[in-house]
Symmetry: C2
Subunit: 149 residues, 2 copies
């Protein structure tokens, strides 16, 4: 799908605030709200917009600790490992990477005790696990929900 400047303007607004009324988007990009409606529908259908999500403060819902985890997986066991990782509560992202680690995880836990349990009881016990390194996130300086479009 080809995106023009109007589409990009709409994407910028919806990335910033997904509940901006179409009427206000229309005002801001100087088009009718019917056009905005039409374009947003097409952006959704084309998969450019993958969804709309409320961002919840992890601390306020009991997740005081977050970490990035590098993972080495035994050769030939990759599929089993990935399948298992998807099911583990607290594992929020699973990326396949080049370099020192085969897989990088983003995990959330209640506190450092819970993180230890997650690492020792769940991740280190899974099929195909070789070794891991945990980088505890002491703080997030910057986290932009928007991509520059």
């Amino acid at each position: 799908m080809e995106l023009d400047e109007t589409d990009r303007a709409i994407l910028r607004i919806l990335q910033e605030d997904a509940r901006t009324p179409f009427s206000e988007i229309a005002r801001r990009i100087d088009m009718s709200s019917a056009t905005v409606h039409d374009r947003v529908g097409r952006l959704e259908d084309a998969g450019v917009i993958q969804g709309y999500h409320a961002k919840v403060d992890p601390r306020k819902v009991g997740y005081g600790t977050s970490a990035l985890v590098g993972l080495r997986v035994e050769q030939g066991r990759e599929e089993n490992a990935l399948e298992r990782l998807r099911e583990i509560d607290g594992v929020k992202e699973v990326h396949l990477t080049t370099g020192e680690w085969d897989v990088m995880l983003r995990v959330y836990a209640e506190d450092t005790d819970a993180l230890r349990d997650l690492m020792f009881d769940e991740i280190a016990e899974m099929e195909g696990f070789a070794r891991s390194q945990t980088m505890v996130i002491l703080g997030t300086d910057f986290e932009d929900p928007s991509l520059p479009v």
Copy 2:
């Protein structure tokens, strides 16, 4: 702020789809939409809900490459480095971490050439830069926008 099961149910729904009409949330949790409206407002005011964001497919807007970057910063230069990182286009997350790296970045770039430029021309040139390691993300197996609440 104390969250009860009703709040959690609302959060689950809005994390999944931030544009679910209050009337439908009300149906699903068996309350009036006025109550949902009231609760969502309180969750926003308390900072539990930090915002609503459209999720855009990076590939569809020209970001074919993503990476996790581990960064070492010279002692005493941390603030300068963090300030600079915030301004660099393509740097989407900046986390302070324990372990091998002081800072972990999540970056997006058009392609591997653009990633090289980002690393060599922007990040390696910034004040306080000591060394870095780039973990190119070959694929994301799993990425859940929701926290289990």
